[in-house]
Amino acid sequence: MPKVYITGLGFITSIGNDSAAVAANLRALRHGFELFAPFQKPDIACKVTGPIRGFHTDSTDPEDWTWPEGYSIKRETIRSMAPHGLYAHCAFMQAVRDARLADADISNRETGLFAASGGSPMLTYFHHERMLRLGPARCSPLGIVASIVGTLNFNLVAAFRIQGASCGFSSACASSAHALAYAFEEISVGRQKRMFVVGGEDGNRDAILPFAGMRTLSLQTDPDIASRPFDLGRDGFVGTGGGVVAVLESEAEVERRGVPAYCELVGWGQASDGYNVAISHPDGTGSRMAMENALAATGIAPGEVDYVNAHATSTVIGDVSEARALRSVFTDKGARPAVSSTKALTGHGLSLAGVMEVGFCCLMMRDGFVAGSAHISRLDPACESLNILRATRAGAPKVVLKNSSGFGGANVAILLRRS
């Protein structure tokens, strides 16, 4: 089976719009949160988000949007996009540069694209309301492809002339981890030699506020402590959006092109809780099985893993459930990998989270550090048996496990190894 490597990354995130800024903020544990203007109203209890800076995408008309200099995007490309389509498009351009890909490397039948997106609630509402009010004849012909969950793959496959496999993944907060995992499969069975994996979320009012209905958002008004996974005082997640792109390539392709790789994507595992539509299993059953499956698939022993980038979103139930799963997989087997959740800095990127955080792990492996789990003042006793890293540690991790969990109790564990 050909090995699979990660050779390129692009980031538009709440903690930076390029890999240099993202790496610096991860290392220094600088978060990207602020009081979000649209939430500063009496009837909205949630106040803090991790917004994307340098872009203006509030308008429902993409031609009103602005973005940082250096990205040239035509009207006919942007007209069918959601806000996170723009973020992902910019991240894609970064990833292409980062991986040193020529046009012919991007557009061929052995290069595909898998994407994960929650769709665009803002545009869905805008176009749907307009249709009901004015009739379908007055609706934009591109309303659907801009709004629905496949919007990222539709737009990017067309914009970058992708000719290989293309598909969207929908397992909520595990979506882009699933996209990465199945992109790995495409390459390791030899169907594709290169895959772009794209995650994106609007991260605006319409994308985040619906989670207030579930009471899963942090109501903290202080941006410095709103997101604090594993802390006793955590009270929910902080929403964020953005776009992240990872380039996966076969070993032969990496050798042919003579490019450096961040790491090897060694393998993965998945399992489901079979328990509740939205609440994770209290014992982390699915997450535990996903990790066990990943370790078994790759032949990596628990003791070889030296860093776990946790899914931990800062919700009361979810963090403890993952901590129990980690204890069962590692502590009980005598292994003590460092554990941290970078969602303390970025917030929870939902469909974006998996690929974004795998990207973070790549940067840590390249730059030689492990980002700490920020904002913990009183560690939750339920997590005490874990080696939760409270500050950034120098030294590159050799083997990294990335956890992702989504609605319906879907769990994905991905193993990375520094090459």
Binding site: K74, E76, S80, R138, S140, P141, L142
Partner: protein, 322 residues
């Protein structure tokens, strides 16, 4: 790729103009809708909405098209003739066409259905179409693009004396192309060791395009068709040749109908090679006569005709419906 004529197009309902007065609110909405168009587009739209005068319509339509064309292609619209093609020349795809239509509908307060859209191929088609909509006139037949097989099947003139490779025919005129191959028999002697397309042949090519227009584009009396074997040359005036045309040149031919009254039809014609003027003919006059139109094969009780009957269709009809 021949276009099937859409009978539904001829049943156009008049558009009610200025059913309600133009209020300040309307002007604000119009300004918002046209915020990415030129100021003159907005002015024309205001004038149209206030007066209902169709004279303002072309400026609005061109202004809206311009707004959706990529900036580096906009210069083509500045001195566009009506033959400028939306897809090939302006890079407008069918989705952009929808965006144009929605904005035009919104601004001019009319509605356009999908069938009508499909046939708009040139800037001229769009202008004529909107003009007919506003005036409540029957919609013109759309521009038809005819490949060489089709041209050969309808024309009374045949190779080696047919000087059209492709053509498009609208209700007002026709455009065509002919590439001088160098293999034309008369170039062996015209001239010795110096092949130049005879001006008389270029005039012949324009005449052939006019014949094609009479057969495929001209509006005829109800139930009548122009007989392919009734068309002949009668005269021409104001002919000037500006440029020698040689093997390898691609002649771009166009004719416009000036007058048509049985038994005479008069056209103006021009030939270009690239941007260069080659031949001008102020008047080309042909004579023609009507014959009974071929009867349309009709469905019986909503079912298609048996295969035996369709085999009996004359080749012309088969070709048109192909």
């Amino acid at each position: 790729m021949s276009e099937t004529y859409q009978p539904s197009l001829s049943s156009n309902k008049p558009f009610p103009i200025a059913t309600k007065p133009f209020a300040p609110d309307d002007e604000a909405a119009l300004r918002e809708a046209l915020k990415r168009c030129s100021p003159s587009t907005f002015e024309a739209a205001v004038q149209f909405r206030k007066t209902g005068n169709p004279e303002h319509m072309p400026a609005v339509v061109i202004g809206v098209i311009e707004r959706f064309v990529e900036p580096d292609l906009r210069s083509k619209l500045k001195d566009a003739d009506d033959d400028l093609r939306l897809i090939e020349d302006l890079g407008i795809d069918s989705l952009t066409m929808m965006e144009i239509v929605i904005l035009v509908e919104d601004v001019l307060q009319l509605s356009i259905n999908n069938d009508e859209l499909r046939n708009l191929r040139t800037v001229g088609d769009v202008k004529t179409f909107i003009d007919c909509k506003i005036r409540g006139l029957p919609l013109p037949r759309p521009t038809k693009f005819l490949p060489i097989e089709h041209i050969g099947s309808v024309m009374p003139v045949q190779p080696p004396f047919l000087f059209l490779n492709e053509a498009s025919v609208s209700s007002t005129g026709a455009n065509g192309k002919y590439k001088i191959t160098g293999k034309e028999f008369f170039l062996q002697g015209h001239f010795k060791d110096n092949p130049i397309m005879p001006a008389s042949i270029m005039l012949e090519a324009l005449g052939q395009l006019a014949v094609l227009f009479l057969l495929e584009g001209a509006t005829t009396e109800p139930g009548k068709a122009i007989g392919a074997n009734t068309i002949f040359f009668t005269g021409c005036e104001g002919v000037r040749a500006h440029r020698m045309c040689k093997p390898g040149d691609i002649l771009t031919l166009s004719i416009k109908s000036k007058r048509m009254k049985m038994p005479l039809a008069t056209f103006e014609g021009a030939i270009r090679v690239g941007q260069e003027k080659a031949v001008i003919a102020e008047d080309i006059t042909l004579t023609f006569a009507y014959v009974e139109a071929a009867v349309e094969p009709s469905a019986v009780n909503g079912t298609a005709q048996p295969a035996a009957d369709s085999d009996a269709n004359p080749p012309l009809r088969v070709a048109i419906n192909a």
